[in-house]
Every structure is written in structure tokens, then in C-alpha cells.
Amino acid sequence: MPHIVVCFKWVIDETYLRRAPGGGLDFSSVDYKLSDYDRNAIEEAVRIRTALGGTVTGITVGPPEAAKGVKDALSRGMDAGVFIADPAFVDLDPSQTVSLIAQAVRNHVGPFDLIICGEGSGDLYAQQVGPRLAEALGIDCVAFATQISLEGGTLTAQRRLEGVIEVVTAPLPALVTVLPEINTPRIPGVKDTLMAGKKPVRTLAKGDLGATGGPRLQTLAVRAAAMERACEKFGVEEAEVIRFVDALKKRGVLA
């Protein structure tokens, strides 16, 4: 029965980001969420466990506040969590995140059959942690899967590339990153949330793991993307629609 490891991230909900005077970002009213596409990663792990048995262990790296994310992720059907927590674990670059996850998997998770990552995280969307982690652990990697199945020690995955769909196989253990179309994530109910509080979570501190090495990239600036627009509204009555078309013509964008 497979042991599936799924990686998820607790991220800033970008809908609460505002443009600060001066062009930076205003984080004052931000909220956090489980990275959108990691919900698909968790759902896929739980779907396979429901079909084949086994266990699902979720792993995240983040600051202590990400404990909320661990609980959220557990409410989506995972069996156990590994929480790599330290106040310094914010804004890590993908290579550092990978170093921490790889060490935790090797030393604290035990044998596994499959690792599932999301296609990309909601904040960085670097699409790096999955493929890098496969290399760090020396296992095969299939990125951007739209369908996966496990049978007799083999992963079969369908992946979508530009202009072609490939069906591939790989021996287990292996790592896949999944596209959001692979499934529809569940919405946890009250009972799921209550049960999540009873599931085992192993918290690993900085001292439980070795060094990550320094960052490979340095962020020089983060500035809000500009979107200055006229914001003129029209009704749906015939006269209004004609006025809308005239406005487009006046701006010279309709022949």
C-alpha cells in the first residue's frame, strides 16, 4: 500500500494585496491561504489512498504561523503532517525550500512511493520546488501531469506539453507535479476540520535539520504592477450599448 508524500505551501492571498503609495506593495490587510494548486496535489494523494489504501503525509516549510495551513491541509484528508517551522522560513528561494524538504524526507519521513507537488505556488509560481526536489532525492520526475495512476511499483502519468500529450511510466519512488485540471479539490466540512485537529503533526525546527545554504537569488525590488484604467461603466439597455460602441470607436480601437 503506497505511502504518498504531498508538498503544500501556506501563502499570501494575493486578492488582499494593495498598491502602496510609491509603487510598492501594501501588505497591511493581507490574509493567507493554502496555495490554490496544492489543494489539487492533496486531493490527488487522498484520491489514490482512497482507491489503494496506504497513507498520505503532507509536508510544508514555513514560519510558525503556517500551522494554520497544516490544519487546513489535514482537513482535506491527509493522514499526518510534517511541519518544518522557523520564523526565518519566509521568502526562502526554491533551492533552500528543497534542501529542507529533502532532508526531512530522508531523515524523518521514512520510505515513500510517490511525492506529489502542485504545478506552482500561489505567491512565487516559480514551478521549481517539485523538479528540484526530485533531483535532490535522486528520483524520477514527471512534471505537469493531468492524470496519474499507480500499479505494481510503477507510476503511469499523462502530461501535457505544447502540441503533444505524452503518456509516460516511471518506476517508484518518483515525483510528479500536477496541473489543476487533474481533479476538483474537496471543500472541507466542519467534521473534517474537527478531525484535522486530532491528526499527528511532527514539527521540525531549524536545529533538527542541517544547513540549507544561502539564497541563490537576491530580491532587489518588488513593485506593484500598474493598472491605471478609466473605469467607465455602461448599462445594458440598447442606448447604453450603442454609447459603449461609440466610446470604443472614439478611442480608435474599432474600425
Binding site: E14, T15, G120, L124, E135, E166, V167, T219, R229
Partner: protein, 316 residues
């Protein structure tokens, strides 16, 4: 002086990377190497487009995918120490680049949208927080690596009479063969249309109730001489339209004179792909939909009422 490597997947992406590569190299001097599969298809052109050297990768055994080149490329890069390695931000490039970066223990800027030299260092811009912000990074390790968003850089003007050295890389002596095997390949129909070049783009969103209703959006598009695009749920969840038509963070960026979003809520991951439009218009029945705050002109109303009226008005 800098040595820049480009991994070639398709002809179009290679030309764009050569465009960027030449821009970078012309500022500091150096050379450009294109690495490609053993068939070398299309390579006669690369010298004119700016390649100084072409490296042919060793043949792959049956059933192996392009990613099987990773160990050979990584070993060559570890030995020859290029300063910069660029890959296209195609699905293949987005998988291969982080795996190579991990093997070379270096940083990677994913989906780079702008590049410049600044005091001897390379700086790159990329999109973060779904498109709400632009992050500028510099590299603390070498080689500098990036995947480059398609259609971001133009191919260079070819220069006749240039030539490029050709060499082959041998297979690794003690190479481990990856376990991933292709068991089936299905070609998808390629789209002839190119959204990124369209003067008008009409984007369909989840406000449409069923696939057949796309006909309304198509009619509007054809009346204004435009192309139909869509939001990600339409191409990827509902499969109503091909992926190439998805606009946004994980799709294409468009820069038409006019963009009209129909039944599109205007979430940042989609809107980041239409920032380059001269005029943004919207049709949405929810007056509080975020798209209205990012549009120049918007009709607040049901699309099933608005589009027939719009079609009539456009026909006049």
C-alpha cells in the same frame, strides 16, 4: 566577456532566446552556444541568428524523453562553466531548467519577462503574487539561469555570412539512464491563429453557461476582426477551448488595441496577461466584479442580454 548557452526546444523559442542572447552578449562581448538534439534540425539557420557554436547532444534510446539530456548538459556545464544558461518557458523547459539548476547548485529565474545589465550584474524581472507584482532579482551564484516567457523577446534580424562551430557531446561514460519512458504520444491539433499578434481579443470566461454559447463570443470577435481567447477554467477545467487560448500567468500575454472580457471576473492571474492592451473593456453582470476596476469601459449586465445588443450595434 560572457559565455551564454541556449537550450533549443523549438525553432520559434530558439530564435527568441537568440534575440535576448545577442542583446545581452553585445553589451559585454562573448559567445553564444545553442545546445540541441542530435538531429540538429534547423541548425543551418542559427549562425545567422547569432549562434557562434552549436552543440549536438548524444542520441537518446527509444522511449526516452528530452529530459533524459539533463545529465549530459549538467555535466558539460559543470565542466565548461558557461556564465548564463537560458531555456524557453515551455512545459519542457520549465521542467528541465529547475532540474539542471539543482544539479548545478545555482539560482534560476522562472518565466523571466525582462533582463538588463546593471553594474556588471544581470538583473531580471518576473511576475509574483499571481501578477499583482513584479519582482526584480539578481544572481548570487553562477551560472545565471532563466526560463524565458514565450513571445517576450523578438528574434534577431538574421545576418548572412556568419558561421558557427559544430561539435557533439558524447554520452556520459557512467551515465545513469532515467526511468521515465514514453509509452504513448498524441499530437494535438496546432492552432494556426496567434493570440499574441491579434489587434482585438475577446476573452470568454466562466460567466458562459455552456460551450455552445461561445458562438456569441465568436460572433462579436469576428465583427470586430478579433480573435477569441479565454480564462484558464475554460481551457483547462471545462476543455471548451484549447490551452493555447488561455490568457494570463500560466497562459499567454496579449497586447491588442482592444481586449473585451465577457463573463470574466478579472482575477489578477488572468488580468496580468492583458496589461499590455491599449483599451480594456468588460461585460459582467456583477457590478462589483474586480474586472471593472481594471477596465476602461464596462457594461454591467447579463452577457446574454448585452452580447445580442452589442452584435446589433456593431453590425450597424
Amino acid at each position: 566577456m560572457a559565455v551564454l548557452w541556449i537550450f533549443s526546444e523549438t525553432t520559434a523559442s530558439t530564435k527568441e532566446l537568440l534575440g535576448l542572447g545577442r542583446e545581452l552578449i553585445s553589451a559585454v562581448g562573448g559567445s553564444i552556444t545553442v545546445l540541441m538534439g542530435p538531429d540538429g534540425e534547423g541548425r543551418e539557420e542559427w549562425a545567422a541568428y547569432g549562434a557562434d557554436e552549436i552543440i549536438l547532444l548524444p542520441p537518446l534510446a527509444d522511449g526516452l524523453a528530452m529530459e533524459a539530456h539533463i545529465p549530459v548538459i549538467a555535466a558539460a556545464a559543470a565542466e565548461e562553466k558557461p556564465d548564463i544558461i537560458l531555456l524557453p518557458a515551455t512545459a519542457r523547459g520549465r521542467e528541465m531548467a529547475p532540474r539542471l539548476a539543482q544539479r548545478l547548485d545555482t539560482g534560476l529565474c522562472s518565466n523571466c519577462v525582462a533582463v538588463r545589465w546593471s553594474g556588471g550584474d544581470i538583473e531580471m524581472d518576473r511576475v509574483v503574487y499571481g501578477g499583482a507584482a513584479i519582482q526584480t532579482v539578481k544572481f548570487l551564484t553562477r551560472p545565471v539561469m532563466a526560463t524565458v516567457a514565450p513571445k517576450t523577446f523578438s528574434p534577431p534580424v538574421p545576418e548572412e555570412g556568419r558561421s558557427a562551430r559544430l561539435r557533439e557531446l558524447p554520452p556520459l561514460a557512467a551515465g545513469t539512464v532515467p526511468g521515465v519512458r514514453i509509452v504513448e504520444k498524441r499530437e494535438k491539433r496546432r492552432l494556426a491563429r496567434d493570440l499574441t499578434q491579434a489587434k482585438v481579443v475577446v476573452a470568454a470566461g466562466r460567466g458562459l453557461e455552456k460551450k455552445e454559447d461561445l458562438a456569441l463570443v465568436e460572433e462579436v470577435a469576428s465583427l470586430v476582426g478579433g480573435e477569441v481567447g479565454c480564462t484558464r477554467p475554460l481551457s483547462e477545467e471545462l476543455h471548451w477551448l484549447p490551452t493555447e487560448l488561455c490568457i494570463g500567468l500560466s497562459g499567454v500575454s496579449v497586447k491588442p488595441d482592444l481586449y473585451i472580457g465577457v463573463g470574466v471576473s478579472g482575477q489578477v492571474q488572468h488580468m496580468t496577461g492583458v496589461r499590455g492592451a491599449k483599451v480594456i473593456a468588460a461585460v459582467n453582470r456583477d457590478e462589483n466584479a474586480p474586472i471593472f476596476a481594471q477596465a476602461d469601459l464596462g457594461i454591467v449586465g447579463d452577457l446574454y442580454e448585452a452580447l445580442p445588443k452589442l452584435i446589433t450595434a456593431l453590425k450597424k
